[in-house]
């Protein structure tokens, strides 16, 4: 392949990549599920799991912060993603 052909191929790839990402972003503006993401795809296939997660999330949210008599802003639960080692 000549240098010019290589450049043209690269240019075409860039344009195609750009179009692909623009399409994905366009879908995201409408709140559509991104199927290239494994977690999102699993949620799409099994929305019940999402519902269960949502209910648990709400239950934990009500516990997350301090209740009456405690300092405002005190956390009862660690932030999401934190893994707490077992007590020794």
């Amino acid at each position: 392949m000549t240098r010019r052909n290589l450049a043209a191929a690269a240019c075409r790839t860039i344009t195609e990549d750009t179009k692909r990402v623009l399409r994905a972003l366009e879908e995201a503006t409408h709140g559509r599920v991104n199927t290239s993401d494994p977690i999102m795809e699993q949620l799409r296939q099994c929305p019940e799991a999402f519902k269960v997660g949502e209910i648990l999330c709400k239950a934990f949210d009500s516990l997350k912060y301090a209740q009456d008599g405690s300092e405002f802003g005190d956390r009862y639960l660690p932030p999401s993603g934190a893994v707490i080692p077992p007590l020794v």
Binding site: I14, D17, T18, R20, V21, L22, A24, L25, E26, A28, T29, H30, G31, N34, S36, D37, P38, I39, M40, D61, Y65, G73, P78, P79, G81, A82, V83, I84, P85
Partner: protein, 367 residues
């Protein structure tokens, strides 16, 4: 790595991002992401499946290309793209998102400072005066004019205002002993004499024409003219400039908000009267409401593509100028601090005074 074991571990799962965003965040980010992709700020390979992640990657690279690392050496703060004009706690954000019915049609580029960078400029002014009697005032004028484009500056003029307000209630005896009187007394003659008459244009011409004899003066002027060049065509984007048409509800929010926190404190020397006035004011900053950000530029996501792209380009141009200008300013501040430290060393040797805590240490404590 040597250190105490952490009691919290965040596992990294292969192929899974560390965080996910709500659709309230993904939607606006996707609109901005499309615009930044069209403008070449983001690239297709920034795409990881999340619009927020996409914009963040592009924005990080943009900041890095515009010398954010150099700017960070002196300026303590952040430049962020956000959907809220003021910072929210996690709890407040959760409440806002729970009550939201539709996607926001505004994002903002917000610039703010967590601490005021200390600029003890007295020793530098003395050096400049040795070259030309107008040079200190010219340097001060161009430096502060340019800093004001990106931040609130606290200097002797703010200290004078603060001092005058408090001196009204003092008796003669109290006045004699007060620090407020010193604000005026400590102002260098080279600034007092020329600051009001030497305007920006004339000051900049003087800086361009002068041929300094010492390398440090040459460096100071070179960096200042570079800073000035980056700031050309840009004005300070205060939140106060926003109208109700731009951002609905802005007037009410501005009424409840306090003035911005200063991004720098220009003193003659550390712990002088300006510093004392600043410390007094800083104690009460943010007590009566959130402090306005130093820089706020809105991005209207509901505009037609062409208009949106023009606005995003304008906002990113502003960010680029700000970062490059502050990177040049950081070099100036480092030289100013070096000259001040040198002055302290010489002063100690000549006077035989006992050694006090280093200037760097004092600076750390203040910040």
């Amino acid at each position: 790595m040597i250190g105490l074991p952490l009691d919290v571990t965040l596992p990294k799962l292969k192929g899974i991002r560390g965080w996910y965003c709500t659709r309230w965040d993904e939607g606006p980010a996707a609109v901005l992401g499309m615009s930044t992709l069209r403008l070449g700020i983001c690239r297709p390979d920034d795409w990881s499946g999340s619009a927020v992640d996409f914009v963040e990657r592009g924005f990080r690279r943009f900041c890095s290309r515009n010398r954010a690392v150099d700017a960070k050496r002196v300026w303590v703060g952040d430049l962020r793209i956000t959907d809220s004009l003021f910072e929210l706690t996690e709890q407040e954000r959760n409440q806002v998102e729970a009550g939201r019915e539709e996607m926001t049609d505004h994002l903002y580029l917000v610039g703010d400072y967590e601490a005021a960078a200390s600029i003890p400029i007295g020793a530098t002014l003395a050096r400049l005066e040795a070259e030309n009697h107008l040079l200190p005032a010219a340097f001060y004028q161009v430096l502060t004019t340019n800093l004001y484009k990106w931040m609130r500056v606290y200097d002797y003029l703010d200290a004078q205002e603060h001092a005058e307000m408090w001196m009204e209630d003092l008796s003669d005896e109290e006045l004699e002993a007060s620090v407020y009187r010193k604000v005026d007394l400590e102002t260098p003659a080279c600034i007092k004499r020329h600051a009001k008459t030497l305007k920006y244009e004339r000051a900049r011409n003087l800086l361009r024409e002068i041929r300094p004899h010492t390398s440090v003066t040459r460096e100071l002027i070179r960096h200042l003219l570079e800073m000035d060049a980056h700031g050309q065509g840009h004005a300070h984007a205060w939140p106060g400039q926003l109208s109700e048409k731009d951002v609905p509800g802005i007037d009410e929010w501005l009424m409840d908000a306090e003035n911005s926190r200063p991004g720098c404190l220009i003193t003659w020397y550390e712990n002088d009267a300006i510093n004392a006035c600043f410390d007094e004011e800083a104690q009460h900053m943010g007590e009566n409401g959130p402090c306005q950000p130093n820089v706020t530029l809105p991005i209207h996501l509901d505009r037609p593509v062409k208009e949106l792209d023009e606005e995003v380009r304008r906002v990113f141009d502003h960010a680029s100028a700000m970062l490059r200008s502050l990177a040049a300013a950081a070099k100036i501040v480092e030289l100013v601090r070096d000259l001040y430290d040198e002055y302290l060393r010489e002063h100690r040797i000549e006077s035989g005074l006992p050694v006090e805590p280093g200037a760097a240490g004092v600076r750390e404590e203040q910040l």
